[in-house]
Subunit: 389 residues, 4 copies
Amino acid sequence: MSTPVASTTTSPVRLRAVDAPGQPDVTPELEELYRGFERELLVPLWTEIGDLMPAHPRSSAVPHLWRWDNLRALAAQAGDLVPVGRGGERRAIALANPALGGRPFATPTLWAAIQYLMPGEDAPEHRHTQHAFRFVVEGSGVWTVVGGDPVPMRRGDFLPQAGWNWHAHHNGTTEPMAWIDGLDIPYQYLTESQFFEFGREELSDAERTTPDRSRSERLWGHPGLRPLSVGEVGPGTPLLAYKWEFTDRALSDQLAMEQEGHGGTVEPGHAAVRYVDPATGGDVLPTLRTEFHRIARGAETAPVRETGSSVYQVFDGAGTVTVGEKTWSVTRGDLFVVPSWQPLSVRSEASGDDSDSGALDLFRFSDSPVFEALKLNRTSTDHREGTSR
Amino acid sequence: MSTPVASTTTSPVRLRAVDAPGQPDVTPELEELYRGFERELLVPLWTEIGDLMPAHPRSSAVPHLWRWDNLRALAAQAGDLVPVGRGGERRAIALANPALGGRPFATPTLWAAIQYLMPGEDAPEHRHTQHAFRFVVEGSGVWTVVGGDPVPMRRGDFLPQAGWNWHAHHNGTTEPMAWIDGLDIPYQYLTESQFFEFGREELSDAERTTPDRSRSERLWGHPGLRPLSVGEVGPGTPLLAYKWEFTDRALSDQLAMEQEGHGGTVEPGHAAVRYVDPATGGDVLPTLRTEFHRIARGAETAPVRETGSSVYQVFDGAGTVTVGEKTWSVTRGDLFVVPSWQPLSVRSEASGDDSDSGALDLFRFSDSPVFEALKLNRTSTDHREGTSR
Amino acid sequence: MSTPVASTTTSPVRLRAVDAPGQPDVTPELEELYRGFERELLVPLWTEIGDLMPAHPRSSAVPHLWRWDNLRALAAQAGDLVPVGRGGERRAIALANPALGGRPFATPTLWAAIQYLMPGEDAPEHRHTQHAFRFVVEGSGVWTVVGGDPVPMRRGDFLPQAGWNWHAHHNGTTEPMAWIDGLDIPYQYLTESQFFEFGREELSDAERTTPDRSRSERLWGHPGLRPLSVGEVGPGTPLLAYKWEFTDRALSDQLAMEQEGHGGTVEPGHAAVRYVDPATGGDVLPTLRTEFHRIARGAETAPVRETGSSVYQVFDGAGTVTVGEKTWSVTRGDLFVVPSWQPLSVRSEASGDDSDSGALDLFRFSDSPVFEALKLNRTSTDHREGTSR
Amino acid sequence: MSTPVASTTTSPVRLRAVDAPGQPDVTPELEELYRGFERELLVPLWTEIGDLMPAHPRSSAVPHLWRWDNLRALAAQAGDLVPVGRGGERRAIALANPALGGRPFATPTLWAAIQYLMPGEDAPEHRHTQHAFRFVVEGSGVWTVVGGDPVPMRRGDFLPQAGWNWHAHHNGTTEPMAWIDGLDIPYQYLTESQFFEFGREELSDAERTTPDRSRSERLWGHPGLRPLSVGEVGPGTPLLAYKWEFTDRALSDQLAMEQEGHGGTVEPGHAAVRYVDPATGGDVLPTLRTEFHRIARGAETAPVRETGSSVYQVFDGAGTVTVGEKTWSVTRGDLFVVPSWQPLSVRSEASGDDSDSGALDLFRFSDSPVFEALKLNRTSTDHREGTSR
């Protein structure tokens, strides 16, 4: 057995000669070899392989829950104290996974934030390669203006925003409004592929109008119908709003079919839809998958592991969520993260309020399209898989 | 103007209230807001946006050059001092970009290492989801055994190894041998998608034989011909060796065609081929692009920027390489990295030795397939692009 | 100049020695050569090239119009006289293009028929590789049962039926009903790829029920939403009914957007949608494209030529249609064919009845997916293209 | 039972009222109905369904064999008597399947012809959307000039020619030369998608030069290597010649691997390769599949049925071929056709000449890509499948 050897160089590389199985005793020659590695900016595999090439994914992130009430209260405070405008661009406050060093990353690849806009405020126009969406858990009255097309935002609506489209926000009401932003900021940060441009300083009057449906919905929001006037689109969906009424009905239909004995659900009591690009049937955004899950009162989902990470927001109902070793009671608006390869299961529980349907409604987004595009996706419903090494 | 406010919490989040344009003076209320962010594990966008969403990619890596002579000398020392075997798995020593905190990452997504095997040694069998390849700049005599198929390695040969294939190495000669390993270890580490399994402890006698061509080459190594006995393959190429004689001839053909007035080169004096999967015509590995470039004596390439990063190794000849602000003279075996969006240009220069062709031969690998799969790829031949923000 | 030479053999090949430019005088030797060709079942290119390889497509079909009133009257007569049952399978009466030798082919690749079902009748279950759809120009009350899923049929509904699905029809009302069948029967006949199987003799009671929406619509009929409970589907759309209300609204939306100055139409006054597979965004059937066009009152479409052929049915309104040299006044239910590379233009005209919207509504189906899959598609808006040879 | 009723109209439609199962007795009313169908150009399904929608494909073509010696002799005669030049374009003589009405169609979709060029002759430049290839069973000396690139033709070489490329032939030797042309002429004729243009009247001197390798081979003929100077290509392969030496070696490699116990063959003694587009790994032409099969001496292939049709040419060796009910002894150059869904098996037999390898070498082309693109492909190794209806 040997003593660790401290580096004496100024290289950023710092090596200890013994951090690996089957390594020899530390001799002066071996020490000299490691100092040579440091000097030449080299790192041996044999001391790193356990961390770099584990038997299965061991996420650097941890499961964590954020309470909606706390988020909204802080966002409202920010609404009073912090202006929104050019430079800062958005009054958005991001979830920072406690194991990711204080960075504003919900998971290693996903950004999730609460955004808050005061009455009459505009968030200025810009565009970026980062793919984004908005999901509305409460309130209404803000319009997102995408390429000149004003899109209303109401509870339950999902608004994807493919990269490199100009967009701004406008609150035309007398109330503040909060919603959730999801983006692939961490992913593009890590892979270093981001571009950003400022847009116009002011929206036009026409863009501050408040049509009930956006132009994108009038072109693309009809089931199974593609407008012939539009040629190639994308990457990313041309449909800028997925209205709550359709999502709600699709989920109700699945649960009703299950009750009639015709299947339709993922597992008993678990209805789910994926938001898709009507031009391709694929994910709405190249790097982000978005889904909505409804767990009927009393139902429980089987634990599932997946490569890649997810963020969930409780849209309605109440229940218990288990991610790896963590279990939480959740209620409307709460957000939680599922790191890569951590098993997730969810139970729907009756809330005190008997007037509701009792179903637990969950919005989800994940980085799954990245893994599928690169053939790196794996899913397991076996708790024991990959736990040995 | 305001004074920065130090955090007093134990949260990993540490915020300063003023790091953004257009921010208000620091008041007790604002301070309280930021402490609330820290407590709830939240980070505002407005203090981070400049770093997270830059006008164009600003790589966390820097251009750097490693000299082959130094690498080989240290690898030979390791051959004497450090055993290769189960646990450490490979005598591979990785390039550590000086700006990446001492991690064994050549760039944020790419791993590049020199591997060294002593006479008679075996590197034990394993498999992993990380995609890998070997490129041989000098020597011969090692066989890589992939799924029971022994593949010889000689100077100039390129040997891709798609993820999750069993593989081992065997040096059947009386000389040590060194080569380059390239993998997507950092990419899979950051996205947390890695699996790994140990294989058999010993190769069979049949696997230690030394056929001139691997079985994969006998099935897949004929131009424009696909074996009907093989159904769906991949992800990743089924051809396990791309022999130097073919690469060399393809490059010579391009330069000859250019001289005859028939084009064929990328730009004057610059021949180049991409290694491709014969079953798809696409990149050999889902996450790694590999190419070979030949710059005729005296020719110079136009500067190009690309999203994503590359590692180059000089295979032959001599020249000058400019990456961003850095310029180096390079010669056989030298390795250098090109971070995302840094312009690269290369000039071929006559070496002292007049016996050679004078061409500068460069092997390259990059993470381009990731960007193309996700539609995040951009290329610019304009020096000024994206420099403003 | 030479005299044609009659064949004296019994070979099916019959050749005349002089049917080509630049041919020599007919000598005994030349005659002997042609008799040799016949004997050996050979045909020279030089006498056939003008027909086989024309400068542009010259369809063997001709433009033709069928009047709905005549079709329906004959179908009703057939309802009285001809039973529907096993063996004949369907009371379907097909359009026979007058230039296709009396075969039941509307065009060389497309089948179009009126089908008629009496009160209480069933058309027996079968399946076939031919892709099919139904389109309803009037009436309601019939259910198509596809794989056990009863799908109602009402005016304006479009019901695609991908190959190899079991299906039957059931008229549960007290009125007869007529609709249009479209299939790729001629295409599969020419390429010889058809399979066919008889199904059960009787539908179950559950399949004779009359839900308002089919199960396929409850799973797949929500805009931009994909059910997670269903894995890979197809070839062919999983959505079995495209209801009139959605088609109508999509077309109205386009014309309204045009009037607001926001585009949305194919050309002025011409709204159009394609029926698409929600799982892929592509055509509903691998060999058939289906569309709906609305020409606003007074509008006229620019002439267009396309490779491949189409069948149109007037759904509503009145107008004038020009196909090549033919021009017809058309009204509800009328069917016409557009052969390959014949220019088509349509004008919408006010009917006598001022109560309607005045728009001319046209359902269309074509073989375009075949040409696109094989990269043989061409479109021209230039009347003169390809007319020279 | 009823008496057939003759038509009295001048419509191309001719109907007999009783040609279907379950039809009623012929009454005056029924007769009137059928006359109405004829008058309106309508044909009922129930009299046609057995022919149009059979239980499995029943080809209108029949198996047939053409002897090479006869073809070559007639082609040589044509060389003496019939000039080649503008208008007739090519001295090509096509196989006419005896069941296809004397049309120059080897099968309903495939054209196969022997082409013959005298010493010093040119076949003039043209282009067409029809996809084409040349395969050389004997001789050498002709160059095909494709887009200005002269491509030599020698025994065993395969030369694909994607649609809409300019091409001409030039015989620079003092001997006549014959080869086989394969095209999709019948397919494009039936689907009516053909375009054709005349090219220049004369080749340039540079195009009459005789390089050993074409420029396309120098760019694309290196295994697993793609030239970076070329962007998007196709549809159809950019490689204009697949040389015999590579095909021969690939087949020998497969048989050798089989003998070593490593598989590699389709079935015992049966090696086979598909010619593929190096840019995609797919078929060389959008509508034509081309393959080379080697049956070792004494081996026999298992019977296989496929949707779609094939033409085979014996390249070398001798054997017995069975297609449906027909069996032939075949030898070098002989051509035979396999209609859709007819089972094929082949036995290799020692020829009298003991000096050869005894293997039976077969070139094949088929319309399989059409069926695969449209998901209409089926294969069966079960003799009994689909024989019942």
